[in-house]
């Protein structure tokens, strides 16, 4: 069973596989926005936070 929601930026339908985890980052295929899974049950997504100065590898 897939998880469904709408892109908070462009409203496109978003469907993610059911092994999706909380805090997972992904891109909206429609508008390219960086999004993050805020909660799996209920399934909620929001825009990913802005990059911070000490982010990296």
């Amino acid at each position: 069973m897939a998880l469904n929601a709408q892109c908070p930026v462009c409203d496109a339908e978003i469907s993610l596989p059911d092994d999706t985890v909380k805090d997972e980052l992904f891109e909206c295929e429609e508008c390219g926005s960086e999004l993050v899974v805020a909660s799996v049950n209920p399934f909620e997504i929001e825009e990913a936070p802005e990059i911070e100065e000490d982010w990296g590898e």
Partner: protein
């Protein structure tokens, strides 16, 4: 029957890399996943930190959170990969250069200066072009190729006026003509497991910035310099950025929370599997004393 090694994945946001590690751990008989969210933990210096995990695999996105969490877990006697000392060294380009130097690992010429005036003098002495980098930073952000004195003056002034205090230490590196590509090699424990060329029309060749990764055969020279660089910073699971120069290979820098998702396909190496193999092995050795 060996029991499962409980791997504490220290994380915040889950990138594709972390997802691959989660899937790898969940799919194995010899490991169990314990998620440790760096946004939910706090530490007390009065009592030691407890966790169900036998060993911690650090995969934070913030450098300072990773560094401090590792220091605190280690203080409570919990084995961490990578070690906090490795995070400290690799988090600073300056400390990395110092360690590479102390271990005789070839690197491009580097100068460190603390004022606009002394930095400009150092740049003029090295000769153009040079690359200026924040002492702490990643993904190619705020690094600048400087080809003229005018540009050097402007960038030094901008850093001094607009930058945070991290920009008050000027890390200046000789620009290396690398013909459109550099090498990213992956070291896990005592082995150089894979390497890719990162090719771009832009001089910044981070795959996060659109460079294309293709397989790079692991020559003896590449394996040697990669392992030497990993050892110089304290060892563990590390990605080494390497330049090909006329004088041989040189190490640009070492990354301690390495991103590998774009390198699995081109190399055909199951990098998350190699990482978890190593973590399980270290965890098991630790449990058995």
């Amino acid at each position: 029957m060996n029991s499962k090694v409980k791997i504490g994945l220290l994380h915040s946001l889950i990138r594709r890399d972390e997802k691959l590690l989660i899937d790898e751990i969940n799919g194995r008989d010899d490991a169990e996943l314990v998620m440790i969210d760096d946004r939910e933990i706090s530490f007390s210096l009065k009592k030691s930190q407890t966790t169900e995990a036998d060993i911690i695999l650090e995969r934070c996105i913030n450098h300072y959170r990773a560094l401090h969490a590792l220091q605190l877990f280690e203080d409570s006697g919990i084995l961490c990969i990578n070690k906090s000392t490795v995070a400290s060294i690799c988090g600073s380009k300056f400390e990395t250069s110092l360690m590479l130097k102390q271990h005789n690992v070839p690197q491009p010429e580097v100068r460190i200066a603390f004022t606009e005036k002394s930095a400009l003098e150092a740049i003029e002495d090295m000769g153009y072009p040079v690359v200026m980098k924040p002492a702490v930073g990643s993904w190619g952000r705020l690094i600048a190729k400087v080809s003229t004195r005018e540009a050097a003056e402007a960038i030094l002034e901008h850093k001094t006026t607009l930058g945070t205090y991290h920009h008050s230490v000027f890390y200046i590196q000789q620009y290396v003509e690398k013909n459109g590509r550099d090498i990213r090699s992956f070291v896990v424990g005592d082995e150089c497991i894979a390497a890719v060329y990162r090719t771009s029309e832009h001089w910044i060749t981070n795959t996060a910035r659109g460079a294309v990764a293709t397989n790079c055969p692991i020559s003896d020279e590449l394996a040697e310099i990669s392992k030497a660089a990993a050892k110089a910073v304290g060892g563990g699971i590390l990605a080494i950025d390497v330049f090909e120069t006329e004088g041989g290979l040189m190490v640009n820098e070492v990354n301690y929370t390495m991103e590998f998702k774009n390198s699995i396909k081109p190399t055909g190496v199951n990098i998350p599997e190699k990482i978890v193999d190593y973590v399980v092995q270290c965890g098991r050795e630790n449990l058995n004393g």
